[in-house]
């Protein structure tokens, strides 16, 4: 007789509530795809899928809010065998992702109608990508982080290449896919090495192991950490892992670029914060210099390379690299002040960048082609409101006071100074000066007199209701966060303190 050696597999109890926000988004995405498949002929599929998407976002937001309420009352906890964390931190990142998703969808409507792409798949893909980002926000295990990374990336690869008529878009999709898969592989290798060094992939488990065990030879662990940083650094577009950013940002459909810039950054920085600040605090000495280097390099590359660009989308792409540098300043401080400053930065950045790209998308006109600085010449004369709003978003990105961008920059510089890093704060403030030059170049172009003859032949730009709503929300948010940032600052602070351990 052979003894029965098969032990029963323990399936962990699933806390559905912990992943309810993700499920809501995912369900909406699946419903959209199914509707599309079943009602192939109907012209109303696009409208219907927008309604479903809105329902999904609202439900997801409601669940997130309830989670926030419970976390504040009962404290953070882990669910599903420690795979998922329900804490203030995940709630904050989810909020940013949901806001970015809603705004990006709003500006996509006009884009899709203009380009005659009214495709439900586009909406479903964006929702799926957002699902991946939300999973990433709450991932409490390196394997789940990897899963989330893949979910969000796959959808983004397709979205980047969505404009089939433009070769740049195809190129962007392929480039993003190739480099992205490579970085995912690097990340996965890092997970393997960390597992080898600590015997677990659970973030809490790793932290516990490292706090009780002194590794005599920590080479494997350090290499693993470095590889994780490469993988995540790629997603946040930090230099020197930024090579894909300008091409992909430029080539992808503009609303996709907006979504990518705002939400991917938030999600991936969420993972960086949870993995490095949350899991490896004892190895701070080792990873802080690395992040310091990434921050300085991102600031330098992002600001200096942006100066010589003449394509507005590329300028914003490079400036997105420099914004990654500012967030990294907050992250590498490795303090709760730094973490909450980074979170606040991501919140403001989402509004600023979606707002800016919303206008870029309108100015691009049919074909999504007009992105050169010359296309902005004289915009203020023709479209004073559009030009005024873009000026606001650009000045906010430059960190001008009384906009959210200032408070965000103040936060990360304060974190650096509080950690005694005066030089880094100074590098950051001076980088802000160079990037101000970049933004002011766009502003100056808008307020310069236009070539009237060429303008006569063009139809006036039109802003549809959905983009108008998105622009209004983003602009109001950017100003409100500059004048009365208290609410979101407190949110970011509470989110930092309520971290699942």
């Amino acid at each position: 007789m052979i003894a029965q050696v098969v032990t029963p597999i323990h399936t962990p109890p699933i806390d559905w509530f912990a992943i309810a926000p993700e499920i809501a988004l995912f369900a909406a995405a699946v419903a959209i795809v199914l509707t599309r498949a079943l009602a192939r002929r109907s012209k109303r599929v696009f409208e219907a899928s927008l309604v479903v998407a809105a329902a999904g976002i609202v439900t997801s937001g409601a669940f997130t809010y309830v989670q926030w309420h419970l976390v504040r009352r009962d404290g953070p906890y882990q669910a599903i065998a420690g795979m998922v964390a329900v804490d203030g931190f995940s709630v904050f990142i989810r909020t940013v992702v949901l806001i970015s998703l809603s705004l990006a969808l709003l500006i996509s409507v006009a884009y899709l109608q203009r380009e005659r792409f009214e495709a439900a798949e586009y909406i479903a893909l964006m929702m799926l990508s957002a699902t991946g980002m939300m999973v990433m926000a709450s991932a409490n295990d390196l394997v789940v982080v990897f899963l989330a990374l893949e979910i969000l990336s796959m959808a983004l690869y397709v979205l980047s290449a969505f404009d089939r008529r433009r070769a740049e878009s195809q190129e962007a999709g392929l480039k993003y896919f190739l480099l992205g898969s490579f970085s995912s592989a690097v990340f996965l290798y890092g997970v393997a090495l960390i597992y080898g060094a600590t015997g677990t992939t659970s973030l809490v488990g790793i932290a516990r192991f490292l706090s009780t065990t002194t590794l005599l030879d920590n080479g494997v662990l350090l290499v693993g950490m470095a590889l994780l940083l490469v993988g995540l650094g790629f997603k946040v577009a930090a230099a020197p892992f930024h090579m894909w950013t300008p091409d992909v940002y430029q080539g992808a459909p503009t609303p996709v670029t907006a979504f990518m810039a705002a939400a991917t950054k938030a999600a991936a920085f969420g993972a960086i914060l949870r993995v490095f600040v949350g899991t490896f605090p004892l190895y701070r000495v080792d990873w802080r210099p690395a992040l310091f280097g990434l921050a300085v390099l991102s600031l330098a590359v992002g600001t200096i390379a942006a100066v010589v660009q003449s394509d507005v989308k590329r300028m914003l792409a490079y400036s997105s690299i420099s914004h990654a540098g500012y967030v990294l300043i907050g992250v590498q401080a490795a303090t709760s002040r730094g973490t909450s400053a980074a979170l606040f930065y991501l919140f403001v950045y989402a509004l600023m960048i979606v707002g800016a790209f919303a206008i870029v998308s309108v100015v691009a006109r049919r074909g999504d082609q007009n992105h050169s600085l010359d296309d902005y010449r004289g915009l203020a004369r023709r479209e004073p409101i559009l030009a005024g709003l873009l000026t606001l978003f650009l000045l906010a990105q430059a960190g001008v006071p009384l906009t959210g961008g200032f408070v965000a920059k103040l936060g990360v510089f304060a974190a650096a100074v509080a950690a005694g890093q005066y030089a880094l704060a100074l590098i950051g403030t001076l980088a802000a000066v160079i990037s101000a030059f970049v933004y002011l170049r766009i502003v100056l172009a808008m307020y310069a007199p236009a070539d009237e003859a060429a303008e006569e032949t063009r139809a006036p730009l039109r802003i549809d209701v959905a983009s108008g709503v998105a622009l209004f929300v983003a602009a109001a948010g950017v100003i409100a966060l500059g004048v009365l940032p208290g609410l979101v600052l407190d949110f970011a602070r509470d989110a930092t303190l309520l971290l699942a351990k």
């Binding site: 909450s340 001008v400 006071p401 200032f406 510089f413 509080a418």
Partner: protein, 534 residues
């Protein structure tokens, strides 16, 4: 006597929030103007005039309400304090004392005049919106007592000024606007890091994080709080930020471009109040917070000030462009302010403060006059003018009078300020004062030479048959000139408010360092009285 700690010393204002009103009113006006449709320019102008006039009214009330008897180091009046930006410990903390009082008044005076002078400006809507935003922000700079609030306004000022220069300036305006923005922002970068460093060093010493200057100043200046070298670095960080704004000698290159390219109202405000934000910053924050560093590094600043005075004057004399000439003369005048400040004597500081006010009046008037001339002749080349004395006598008379006021002829406010500054400098830094005195003579050289070339002789060509000043134009210049004349003969009202503030500041420096100003300088009021009595 007065080294009192923080909040307890100044009575919090429970009544009408006058200082908040001074800041917020222009902002509200800007929003209202923004809501008026573009095709109703006259309505937008009315909004502009009403707002600036109301702000001026509040400022006059402030002057009247200011209690001269109440003073003391960091004793502020009409204080308002509210929580702002929760987490950061930033407070909406405003107050006024002898150092800021006249800057607020000057700001409130120059804006309505500036608007009046630009009544023919293109695209009046955006112009007036930017002007009003600028006025509110400058008010904020002079009234904020929280370092972050100060910095917010200090930095925000750049935005409206940038658009005013870039949108309504002369030919090379885009370059000038960009240069202005980047230079000053680069300076502010150091200032911001300095501010954050002070606050976090304070926090590291075991206190709650705050940016309240009435808490940070006594702490940072107290012996032993900061290492000597730290306070020197911090002083330098602040100094770079302020020096760019003034601008002090090696940081001055943005100013001639910005001034020359800016529209008239822009130049008036830039010279009138915005340059003073730098010298004000030194007096309000740098010197009180790091007195030892200020004493130690005073020679550096004195050298730069003296270079600025002489270099500015010599370069001014060489300028073919009348507006550029006045721009360089501002560098020289502001040099006197820095000279007086870092002489670290009562008279010096009072003289500096007086010069800040006087320079706003006279240079503001000069820029207005140059603007009027350039409206008529569409050039500012001195060589293109000639015989204006005969073709437009009223203009010529006013210009020459204003030039004398700017030179510092006795009887005008310029004399009182520069005399006191030189006197103060003479007491402690004799040779600097001696060299700086040549600046007074050089001022006569460059202005009188320009006057001679432009106004004397027989008018020829386009200089013949120009229309003389209109009533509106007179209304913009005459008040400034009249005030300058009034303060030249009767500086008491200003000195009575400024002098106690300078004495308190010096007393603070003496309490916190081994520095002692010469005994003779302690007779500050007497000196002021002799000047004032004339």
């Amino acid at each position: 006597m007065v080294h009192v700690l923080a909040a307890s010393s100044h009575a919090t204002n429970q009544g009408f929030p006058l200082l908040t009103a001074l800041i917020v009113l222009p902002f509200i006006g800007a929003v209202v103007a923004l809501l008026v449709p573009v095709r109703r320019p006259e309505l937008i102008r009315v909004v502009g005039y009403i707002t600036t006039a109301a702000t001026f009214g509040f400022a006059v009330y402030l002057l009247a309400d200011f209690n001269t008897a109440q003073h003391g180091f960091q004793h502020y009046q009409l204080v308002e304090r509210h929580r702002w930006m929760g987490e950061f410990g930033v407070q909406w903390f405003l107050g006024v004392d002898g150092i800021s009082l006249f800057m607020v008044a000057l700001n409130a005076l120059l804006f309505p005049l500036g608007l009046l002078a630009s009544s023919k400006v293109e695209q009046p809507k955006s112009f007036i919106v930017w002007m009003l935003l600028l006025e509110g922000a400058v008010m904020g700079v002079f009234l904020a007592l929280d370092l972050i609030v100060f910095f917010i306004f200090f930095e925000f000022v750049l935005v409206p000024m940038y658009f005013i220069i870039a949108g309504w300036g002369y030919d090379n305006r885009r370059y000038a606007a960009m240069k202005f923005f980047l230079y000053t922002m680069a300076g502010s970068a150091f200032l911001l890091v300095g501010i954050l460093s002070v606050a976090f060093l304070y926090q590291r010493a075991g206190h709650a994080l705050t940016f309240d200057s009435t808490v940070l100043v006594p702490w940072a200046s107290a012996h032993g709080s900061l290492a000597v070298i730290t306070s020197k670095w911090l002083f330098l960080a602040f100094a770079v930020g302020f020096a760019v704004k003034i601008p002090l000698f090696p940081f001055h290159t943005w100013l001639p471009d910005a001034h020359t390219q800016a529209p008239t109202a822009g130049s008036v405000v830039l010279a009138g109040v915005m340059l003073k934000m730098g010298t004000y910053g030194f007096l309000r924050f740098s010197v009180p917070m790091f007195p030892q560093a200020a004493v130690d590094l005073a020679p550096v600043l004195l050298v730069l000030a003296v270079i600025g005075i002489t270099y500015g004057a010599i370069v001014a004399a060489m300028q073919p462009d009348l507006k550029r000439l006045i721009a360089y003369s501002s560098i020289a005048h502001l040099g006197f302010v820095v000279l007086g400040t870092f002489a670290l004597t009562t008279q010096g500081i009072s003289g500096g403060l007086f010069t800040m006010l006087s320079h706003g009046l006279t240079t503001g008037a000069l820029f207005l006059l140059v603007g009027m001339l350039s409206d008529r002749r569409h050039t500012r080349e001195i060589a293109a003018f000639g015989g204006l004395w005969k073709s437009i006598p009223v203009f010529a008379g006013l210009f020459i009078a204003t030039a004398f006021a700017s030179i510092g002829l006795p009887g005008f406010s310029g004399f009182v300020g520069e005399f006191l500054a030189l006197l103060g400098a003479f007491l402690t830094s004799r040779w600097y004062a001696v060299v700086a005195t040549t600046g007074v003579i050089l001022a006569a050289v460059y202005l009188l030479w320009a006057v001679q070339r432009a106004f004397t002789g027989e008018p020829e060509g386009e200089n013949v048959g120009l229309p003389d000043l209109s009533l509106r134009e007179l209304a913009t210049v005459v008040p400034l000139l009249a005030l300058s004349l009034f303060l030249g003969f009767h500086p008491r009202p200003v000195l009575d408010r400024v002098d106690p503030a300078s004495r308190d500041l010096i007393a603070h420096v003496e309490q916190t360092t081994k520095y002692r100003q010469p005994a003779v300088a302690n007779n500050g009021p007497k000196v002021a009285a002799t000047v004032g009595g004339k």
